[in-house]
């Protein structure tokens, strides 16, 4: 079996699929890619269904070596990418020959990078997903048959010399468009008919820059909900009129922001389920935007939830980045999501890359 060997994991490299859903009743969180836009493009560029397991890398320094021929794509934050020492572009499919090395430099814009391999990284799902959640010891690369229970546990970040199993690379020369017409079942690549990807035209900046910080303040659209009514008009005005900054306390669980403190009339709530993007206001009044690895239950008051599209951009923001909350209606939120899905599908179809929309819609039921 072909594999991808980790020469250096860099700052932080985790295996992720679209996330773990429906396991909250065991206390298991969602996990999955922080920047879903870049995640889905990485998989799409190599012809994978968008729930395929790939590497989410943060900050820089990841170096991998192909143990067999494979096709890869790197998306997300801006960084120098080199193939056997030669600079190559991100956001494009690249062919690696056995022994080839792909090296990711340090990010210059954004934080998270996605490295997808055609056919996907083959690890056994745990509770329905391969998403690595370090805090829970769940997902990622494991040794399920090991005698020592510690080795059966997951949740590990990638280490040097880890070998990530790939599908067999009995490459047949089929065009990608042809593969799409074969109406492959979701999430399974036929073992012996891995299509040969021809690199497509470069993606427009609207796609490659969508989640990366620009020169202006990062706008965080928020759908009011949960305990929004417990905040007075003055506190809400303070929340929306003042900018906040991303603090150094930012990770896969959540992003703590600093700025004008927000007071809530109630501090004692019964613990309740926390949905993605929830903006929690702890007693110190500094908002925390809860992301993929958030705890499942919590008792702090919440103003509402940041729109997923803006959570993806927030996860690419470094400490010090200025953000501004902006309330939107649920209708506007749904419009924005539909528009984003339509743009993705249109762009993917323009490039002849698979039937992306049906995959988008089915992504939670895999």
């Amino acid at each position: 079996m072909s594999s991808l060997r980790i020469i250096s994991p860099g700052v932080l490299s985790l295996l992720q699929d679209a996330g773990r859903f429906g396991q909250g009743q065991l206390g298991l969180t969602q996990g999955g890619p922080l920047d879903q836009h870049s995640f889905r493009w990485a998989n799409t560029l190599v012809g994978n269904p968008i729930n395929t397991t790939l590497i989410e890398h943060s900050v820089g320094g990841l170096i991998v070596q192909a143990q067999g021929a494979c096709t890869v794509a790197v998306t997300g934050a801006t960084l120098p990418l080199s193939h056997n020492g030669h600079a190559v572009p991100c956001w494009q499919a690249l062919h690696l020959a056995p022994g080839d090395e792909l090296a990711l430099g340090n990010v210059s814009q954004g934080l998270r990078v996605y490295l997808a391999v055609q056919g996907g990284i083959q690890v056994a799902p745990q509770f329905g997903s391969t998403a690595t959640v370090m805090r829970e010891g769940i997902g990622g690369l494991r040794h399920p048959a090991a005698d020592d229970p510690q080795h059966r546990l997951g949740g590990h970040k990638l280490h040097a010399n880890d070998c990530l199993p790939l599908t067999s690379t009995n490459v047949t020369r089929v065009s990608l468009a042809g593969a799409a017409q074969n109406s492959m079942p979701q999430n399974t690549m036929p073992q012996n008919t891995v299509p040969q990807i021809t690199p497509v035209a470069p993606l427009p900046p609207a796609v490659t820059q969508q989640t990366l910080p620009g020169s202006s303040i990062l706008r965080l659209r928020i759908i009011e909900g949960y305990q929004a009514a417990l905040f007075s008009a003055i506190e809400r005005a303070r929340f929306y009129l003042n900018p906040y900054r991303v603090s150094p306390k930012c990770d896969r669980m959540g992003y703590k922001l600093t700025g004008s403190a927000i007071r809530c009339s109630t501090q004692q709530l019964l613990s309740e389920g926390i949905s993605a993007g929830a903006v929690q206001i702890p007693p110190d009044g500094q908002p925390i935007v809860l992301l993929n690895d958030r705890q499942t239950l919590g008792g702090y008051p919440k103003m509402g939830n940041v729109l997923s599209l803006d959570c993806w951009a927030l996860a690419q923001a470094t400490p010090g980045t200025e953000v501004q909350f902006m309330p939107i209606s649920v209708e506007d939120a749904h419009n924005a999501l539909q528009l984003d899905a339509a743009r993705f599908t249109r762009e993917a179809q323009r490039l002849g890359l698979t039937s992306a929309l049906t995959q988008l819609q089915g992504r939670h039921h895999d």
Partner: protein
């Protein structure tokens, strides 16, 4: 709020559906209190909506007096999903078809060795350690919620005579299996983690085993009874300090 005894579903006056982001509603019971009656209503709502998971819904996350309901925002909107939820919640329940709540016995070795706060709790509450153990193990607890960490089950209600606020300064590491109390609740730490609860003893039964099915001995709605055991029995059951 009276306990539900009939086969009625939830009436629209029993709860509200509040927006919880682009892809979720949170159902709040009219009374936001920890009580067996609230737990029963949440269990009922969860049962009523369960058939929709995998169809219109992605996830249900019950807690003390709320139920988070998550859907796919590319297939449904709040406007389209709400009437389906109200309808499903109001359906008459066939009580016979409901899986009955389990009664789970968990052995606990209560001692100063295995429960470093046993003596302090006894002193603070004007009891002997034996009285603390007796009070803690003679109550049947309901699983109100699971969260905080995989397999962490919040059990209630702890007798008033044992109610203690959380430690002012949490421990950096509480050992796996620790049986702990805080306010009117008790729990078993499934894995070593930081924690601010008072430790009374140790349970040798794993609360979360990812490679087994089911991964947890308890589920929300189950009844838990702690059974005092000796150090020898603790060791025989696989417990280690």
């Amino acid at each position: 709020m009276s306990a539900l005894t009939s086969a009625c579903g939830l009436a629209a006056t029993d709860y509200t559906l509040t927006i919880a982001g682009e892809n979720a509603f949170i159902l709040y019971l009219a009374t936001q209190q920890i009580s067996p009656a609230a737990a029963q209503q949440i269990a009922l709502a969860t049962t009523q909506l369960s058939p929709m998971v995998g169809q219109q819904l992605i996830e249900l996350l019950p807690s003390y007096a709320s139920l988070l309901i998550v859907f796919d925002p590319l297939q449904h909107s709040h406007l389209s999903i709400k009437p389906l939820l109200v309808q499903a919640l109001a359906k008459p329940v066939n009580l016979l078809s409901q899986s009955p709540a389990k009664r789970v016995e968990l052995p606990v070795w209560y001692s100063e060795q295995s429960g470093p706060d046993l003596l302090a709790v006894a002193t603070a509450k004007g009891l002997t350690p034996a009285e603390v153990i007796n009070l803690h193990s003679s109550t049947s607890y309901q699983v109100y919620a699971i969260g905080f960490a995989p397999g962490f089950a919040y059990l209630g209600e702890l007798p008033e005579a044992l109610a203690m606020p959380r430690l002012s300064s949490p421990r950096a590491s509480v050992p796996a299996g620790s049986v702990a109390i805080a306010d009117r609740q008790t729990a078993v730490y499934p894995a070593a983690s930081p924690g601010g609860w008072h430790l009374l003893g140790r349970c040798p039964i794993a609360m979360f085993t990812p490679w087994q099915s089911p991964a947890m001995p308890v589920a929300v709605g189950d009844q838990v009874q702690f059974i005092p055991i000796s150090e020898r029995e603790f060791t025989l059951l696989g417990g280690t300090l």
